[in-house]
Symmetry: C2
Subunit: 215 residues, 2 copies
Amino acid sequence: MCSRMPLAPQKTIERLILYRLLLERLELQGTTNVFSNQLAEMSGNTSAQVRRDLMTVGYLGNPRHGYKISELLKAIRALLEPQQGISMVVIGIGNLGRAILGYFYPLKPKFNLVAAFDNDEHKVNRVISGCRTYPVHQIGTVLSGTVIDLGIITVPAEHAQVAADVLVRAGIKGLVNFSAAPVKVPEDVTIENMHMTMTFEKVVYFSRLARTGGS
Amino acid sequence: MCSRMPLAPQKTIERLILYRLLLERLELQGTTNVFSNQLAEMSGNTSAQVRRDLMTVGYLGNPRHGYKISELLKAIRALLEPQQGISMVVIGIGNLGRAILGYFYPLKPKFNLVAAFDNDEHKVNRVISGCRTYPVHQIGTVLSGTVIDLGIITVPAEHAQVAADVLVRAGIKGLVNFSAAPVKVPEDVTIENMHMTMTFEKVVYFSRLARTGGS
C-alpha cells in the first residue's frame, strides 16, 4: 500500500495528525460524515488545503455527503500508524530518560521501548518501566536484527552529538533530541528537537513581560 | 534592570539560550574570551546576528579581546534566569503529568512545581514527586497571592482548551501545551506546543520512508 502512496512532506503529515484527532472527536460525538470546509474550519486551514491533504491518503470525498469519517480515519491511520507499532530506543537514562520510559510504558503496543542505553554502569543491566537497560557500547549487538523506528536522545547537552552518532551508526533513521544541544545528522536521517527547558524558559520570559506590562 | 532592556523577540530568546549553552561549554574547557565570529560559527548564525543578539543583553564586546565569557554569561542569565526561579503548575495528573513532575523534581530551585491539578478525586490531595495535588476547582484558592510563571497542560486532547481557560483565568501568562490538541489563548498569553506523540509519529513516518528507500 505504501508503495503506491506519494511522499508526503512534513507539514502535510502534521496536518494529517491533526485531522485524525479532529475526526476521532467527531466520531466520539456520533458524527458519521464531514465536509472539507468543516475540517478546514476546525483545523485552521483552507478547504482546498484539506482536500489536497486528504488526497495524500488516497481517500476522496463525495460532494454531497462529504467524507465518511470511519473510512477517512482508516485511510489516515494506514499512513500514520504502522500496524506493528513504533519501535524505539532511549539513549541516556537520567531523569528525563526515566520520565520518557515511564511515559511510554502504558502506551504499548503502539509505542514499544525496545531498549535503553547509558554509559553509567550503575544504570545498566536493569529493567526500568518494563524496558531493559544496556551499556552504550553493546548497542550493535542488542539491536542486531531489530528494526528501530526512533532513537530518543536524553543525554546531557555535551553528549548529544556522540549519542546521535551512535544511534545513526546503529542504522536508526529517525531521532528525537530532548537535549538542549543541536546535533548534526546525515541527510537521510530525520531529527526533531524537543528542547523542554529551553521552551519553558522562552515562555517564562514572555510570561513575565506580559505580567509586568512589557517593561 | 529589566525596565531598561528592550523587548527581545522569540527568535532572539531562542538564540540567547543556545549561546548560553555554548558559552557554558567554553567556560568548562577553560576558555575565558570569545569573539562574535566564533559564537557565530558554533551556533550557525552570522557574526552580525550574534552581535545584535548580544546587544539585547546590554553587553558589548571588545574588538581586540572579544567578549569575556564570564561577564557575557552573567548578562544572558540576568535576562533568562529569574533569580527567584521559575514557578510552575501542572494541570492533568495522568501518565505525562507524573513524568513531568518526576522530571522537574530534581531541578529545584530553578524550576519549582508549586501545585498540580486534576478533576479525578483519586489523584488529588496527595503529594507526587514533592508536589501537592488539588482538584481543579480549587485553583483560584490554591494560587491566590502566588505568582505563577508557567502553566503546563498535560490533560487529554479533548480537555486541553478547558484546561488552558482555567490556567488563563488564574492569571497565568505562559503556557506549555503537551496535549495533542491546539488551544486558543488571549493575545497577552504566550503558548508553546510540545506534541510529543505527534512529533514522534512524524519522525517515524520519515524514518520508515528512509529505511524503505522512500517508497
